[in-house]
Symmetry: C2
Subunit: 439 residues, 2 copies
């Protein structure tokens, strides 16, 4: 889970400085009734008992997976371990796709080949190769980089499969259990992108759960889209004194940043930008021949993001033109190239969609106060393609996601209580009678 | 020799892209007469013959010194070799001062303790430790980093001492022969600064020659001053999406660069600036907490430089203020600090000063067409303190100073002809009867 608006309640994880945000979600009567009916049935009671009985094993899985480094583009070893755990959990057709996503099928009672409900967690972490990923345990508190984001999510998928098997629950729809690669940072949703591309751009997927983060009260139904560029400004360079008067790519870059920061963006849908990393030049006494700035732009709304993207391209173009008009181009002109280093689609699942309503009802049924928010996760891809999707936490408490001192608490009662919310939501959605859950 | 305006004629060295520049210098009758008298005397004829006879040794000295790496702050080994060569050449009182300048005295016929004429070349090069400094020789062409700038100058000092000894010439004033450290780049004239500080801020020095570069027709009498800063912009930083709306130090920096490039500077006296190196930020999805830009400002005129310096400080201050007004400072304000990374004084020796007139006359006497220009060399320090000073080349041809393929040609006739110009100018100045050469 990479950023997004957070709720204050139980989401200790990465609380940080997100402004305002989550919206309390009232639970509608029909969804409440559906969820309560499933929850009260003996089969689901058995599943909950199995989650509790299997909690030690669940914790061992978390630790095992956490201690295998898995930066974006380096998830292979963790993926292999996850594949073996999936097979051991009894999933059939366990495969690793072309980019490294680990995919296992749990057949439903419906006809084979119907679009499944995807239940996914991400294999990668934000931590580079070489990070100390050993888990430190103090009582029920486990500390290690990536342990909550998203090792706990991965282990939850396995716990769900085992609990459903133990309870003898067969959902109507197939469940496709997926460990995705490259959710974080420069990974840019590479894994989930491929998953949808391989399934007719999502037309082969009925609904999508991303199990990411901890809070079982936080239902992420908004996908914050982002566009990221490394903008490279080039010019002829030259001696700072002797060649004074020539165009300077740093001056063009400066104007572009200044003008970016003068662009108006809507507060609703929330739309943002940042000039984040700058670099270039070789010596204080030389006009640089090359400088760059990395820019991040985001919006909850695809149109607002596209509009900002277009405005930014205009800003860069104009800054270059102004520089070439303002100073001498006798040794060459300033140019700018935009290298896309991130492109996450925006999207949202309507608050009235069954997957949102049922997830909120499942959360409320366990005694949580569900809220809806927007973030940037694997679910973005689904939302952008119109596939009903939410991101939900796997329970427990914790904090410091994306930091070296990341931690989770696996005190069993709270841990299992939160874990069961996701399972209930998944069963409710996968049992929906519609050919495709209505949006 | 670090930049400056160059003349087209014989100064093949670093010709590069310097605009317009050098001014042809007519030789006045009195200076011509003085120089011709010295030049025609048998003693100077013997000195010229000694330069020719010692040319092979001169070339060996160039090679020996070039092949000892000597970046600014790393001149110790080359300094030690130069010290040994000075002692071998018969100089008395050879010392190494607190910063590493190598200093030897050649007594004149005047009373001891009178301010000497300094004849200097710089020990350091622009090339970092680890650069391949082996000299490649093809016929009379020698190639190696730093060979012309300024190994040839260092070897010229030794050749002058030997030639004066061989000819039995004793100048009126003492000659202080100096190999300076840290003339280049970040060295920031550290050596010559110390030399003058140790001699009552120059009141203990009668006149100053820097033997730097090649052309014996180029008399540098203007010292281009410079101010260099590393400007560090700091702010609270934060998540690019979650903390959007907070102040961004990169936006403040961009505005400062944009506004710097809108500052008017005079063409005469030539005054320049450059935003040269930029850096900072950690991740595309984070508002940076720290960015920097390195800025170089220069002028032939101290007042114009001070005015630009003040305007730039105002630009930085205003950019920071605008940023703090434009966005939220709830997590902290943007600040900027200017770290001075270079401060070379501007100055000039009047065109009518004896050192300029006699140097031009010496150049013309050897058949060159002398020109006056401005540059940034060790002589800046002298000029800024009101000590009559010029920078002159040591003869020969060459090119590509400050580049790895730097070269010189030591074809003896042209090499000795150029070498003799400097010696003639030095003798003429050191024989001046005034208590201090008039400015």
């Amino acid at each position: 889970m990479t950023g997004g608006r957070r709720l204050a309640a139980l989401a200790l994880m990465s609380a940080g400085c997100w402004p305002a945000a989550a919206v309390a979600q009232p639970v509608d009567a029909a969804s409440r009734a559906t969820v309560e009916r499933i929850r009260a049935a003996p089969a689901f009671r058995r599943a909950e008992a199995a989650l509790a009985d299997g909690h030690d094993r669940f914790v061992r899985d978390i630790i095992q997976l956490t201690e295998i480094p898995a930066p974006p583009f380096g998830e292979q070893r963790r993926g292999e371990a996850f594949r073996a755990l999936m097979v051991e959990a009894g999933l059939t057709d366990v495969t690793v796709d072309s980019v490294g996503n680990v995919i296992g099928l749990r057949r439903g009672s419906g006809p084979a080949g119907r679009p499944p409900v995807v239940v996914s967690a991400h294999l990668d972490t934000v931590f580079p190769e070489g990070t100390d990923v050993r888990v430190r345990r103090e009582g029920t508190r486990l500390s290690a980089p990536g342990i909550g984001d998203d090792s706990r999510g991965l282990a939850a998928l396995l716990a769900y499969v085992r609990a459903l098997d133990a309870a003898g629950i067969r959902t109507r729809r197939d469940l496709l259990i997926v460990g995705t690669v490259s959710e974080e940072g420069r990974g840019d949703l590479r894994g989930v992108r491929q998953l949808f591309a391989d399934r007719r751009d999502g037309r082969g997927i009925a609904a999508f759960f991303s199990v990411d983060g901890l809070s079982p009260a936080r239902i992420t139904r908004g996908g914050v889209g982002s566009k990221r560029y490394r903008v490279l400004f080039r010019g002829p360079g030259g001696h700072s004194y002797g060649a004074f008067g020539l165009v300077n790519p740093a001056a063009a870059m400066a104007r572009a940043i200044t003008d970016l920061y003068a662009l108006p963006v809507p507060q609703q849908p929330r739309t943002t930008f940042s000039a984040s990393v700058v670099g270039g030049g070789t010596s204080v006494n030389a006009i640089p021949s090359e400088v760059f700035v990395e820019v991040d732009m985001r919006s909850e709304d695809a149109t607002a993001l596209a509009r900002l993207d277009e405005a930014f391209r205009g800003v860069v173009e104009r800054a270059v033109a102004v520089e070439n008009e303002s100073r001498s181009t006798r040794e060459g002109r300033v140019t700018a190239t935009l290298e896309a280093i991130g492109d996450r689609p925006a999207g949202e699942t309507p608050a009235t969609s069954p997957i949102v309503r049922l997830s909120a009802a499942a959360s409320a049924a366990a005694g949580y106060a569900p809220t809806l928010d927007a973030s940037s996760t694997d679910a973005n891809m689904a939302m952008s393609l119109g596939v009903p999707a939410v991101t939900i936490g796997s329970g427990g408490t914790g904090g410091r996601a994306h930091a070296l001192d990341e931690w989770i608490d696996v005190a069993p009662e709270e841990s299992v209580r939160g874990l069961a919310v996701g399972l209930l939501a998944i069963v409710a959605v996968a049992d929906q009678p519609d050919s495709r859950p209505r949006r």
